[in-house]
């Protein structure tokens, strides 16, 4: 009994202290208010470009029967009712409704709340989002682009549907723990350091590393779901467990044989240099890239040519 009391005297404060530290470390972080002063004054026209570059409709857009032909039909893609299931090693995430519907979507949000979701992965009630929402890439976006995107999204139609809740392993249901994960992976660091990048390369870097989040699929991850930074864009098994994602570094086992024009043209048309066509989830990405300016596609190509070549791992 005495023994037990002694143990308890020692353990309980330790657990309590651990709890306090955990609570402290996992607390949500917000973007400072003065940075967000322009959030309600974005430019909706510029926002449309960000919308396509960011691929919001590929996840939040129409699903199932409604999705048939939606990729080719621009206005169908503006209905962001969600519902799409994303398979990951941690379970299935059902993409939420982010339409302008005030009840089922995010129509009642403020610009600041939207910015904190995009840039800090924090919801209006202060909980952490799962990185199945690729905010670790969006976090590197310019606030002005987030404001423009918000202005554009407010003009999109309302969708009055709610969706299934995520079907994920029990330990991951506790969102608070994601705070620890964010400590490791949520930052503004560049994935590649260039000496004096020119304007085009810098634009390509911004699009690939942040808005267009190419690395979310093309970079392999470690067991806790963080990027394997040394293998940036080097491809690997698909995180949804189905097939492989190609290496898009300039290594011979990647895009080494693709000229800059080949890369740029593939993003415009969906054709590889052999005139096979893209398949899988890349078809949606390509349809989005086709809606950007030729100069943005070129910037992406220039960046892909400039990153470190990394050899593919044998399958």
């Amino acid at each position: 009994m005495k023994m037990f009391k002694k143990l308890a005297e020692f353990l309980l404060p330790a657990i309590a202290l651990g709890g306090v530290v955990f609570w402290y470390l996992t607390a949500p972080e917000y973007v400072s208010d003065d940075l967000l002063a322009g959030m309600e004054n974005g430019d909706a026209i510029a926002g449309e470009t960000i919308f396509w570059a960011g691929g919001c409709a590929s996840c939040h857009g129409p699903t199932g029967k409604k999705a048939a032909g939606a990729a080719e039909n621009k206005s169908a893609q503006f209905v962001l009712g969600g519902g799409h299931g994303l398979n990951t090693p941690f379970g299935t995430f059902y993409v939420p409704n982010i339409s302008s519907d005030p009840k089922h979507g995010i129509g009642s949000w403020t610009g600041k709340q939207f910015a904190n979701a995009m840039l800090k992965g924090v919801s209006p009630d202060g909980s952490h989002y799962y990185p199945a929402f690729p905010y670790t890439s969006y976090a590197k976006m310019d606030v002005k682009d987030v404001a423009d995107l918000w202005a554009f999204m407010k003009e999109l139609p309302a969708a009055a549907n709610s969706n299934k809740s995520h079907d994920i392993w029990l330990p991951f249901k506790l969102r608070r723990g994601l705070g620890l994960w964010k400590m490791l992976y949520l930052n503004n660091d560049r994935m590649v350091e260039f000496e004096n990048p020119d304007e085009k390369l810098a634009r390509g870097q911004y699009l690939v590393e942040s808005v267009a989040h190419c690395g979310e699929c093309h970079t392999p991850r470690n067991i806790i779901g963080g990027f394997d930074k040394k293998r940036w864009l080097a491809g690997g098994p698909s995180p949804d467990g189905d097939g492989n994602i190609p290496n898009i570094t300039p290594h011979d086992s990647g895009l080494g044989n693709w000229s800059l024009n080949d890369i740029v043209y593939s993003l415009e048309s969906g054709f590889t240099p052999e005139f096979d066509s893209f398949g899988g989830s890349m078809t949606d990405v390509q349809q989005n890239m086709a809606k950007l300016s030729a100069s943005d596609r070129e910037a992406i190509g220039i960046y892909l040519k400039a990153v470190l070549p990394v050899a593919s791992k044998p399958k």
Partner: protein
Amino acid sequence: MKTILKSTIFAICATVCLTGTAVADGHLEKAASARKAVMQLYSFNLGQLGAMAKGAVEYNSETASAAANNLLALVSMNQGPLWPQGSDYVSLGHEAGAMPEIWSTYPAITEKSKALMVGATNMAKVAGMDLASLQGAMGGVGGACGGCHKVFRKKK
């Protein structure tokens, strides 16, 4: 145009519906490899058009028309016999790259063939006009190829 479309779709339906017809051994493998050969012919003709579209070779109206007409002829061909049930990659292994969903969700795939028919018809109409028209029609064809590959072709 409509009749070609209808007969193609009918032909695909007929094969999908009339499964189990007695055919010689190895016919599934043969169908899958013939199918891949057709895909290669698509690619070959698109390669001619694409080389001009992307500026790798100079635009030539006759070459462009010929390639676009070939593509349309291939797409208009009665492809029913090339798609027998059981010629998916799960049943045949590496011989094929077709998803079993082609047959389990039939007739969803006919929408994809129709989309390619629309893209190829448009291409045949405009490829010989000028470079800009050819360039403008490439995306429609690429979207149709990718639209089918996205759902019905085995992932890389």
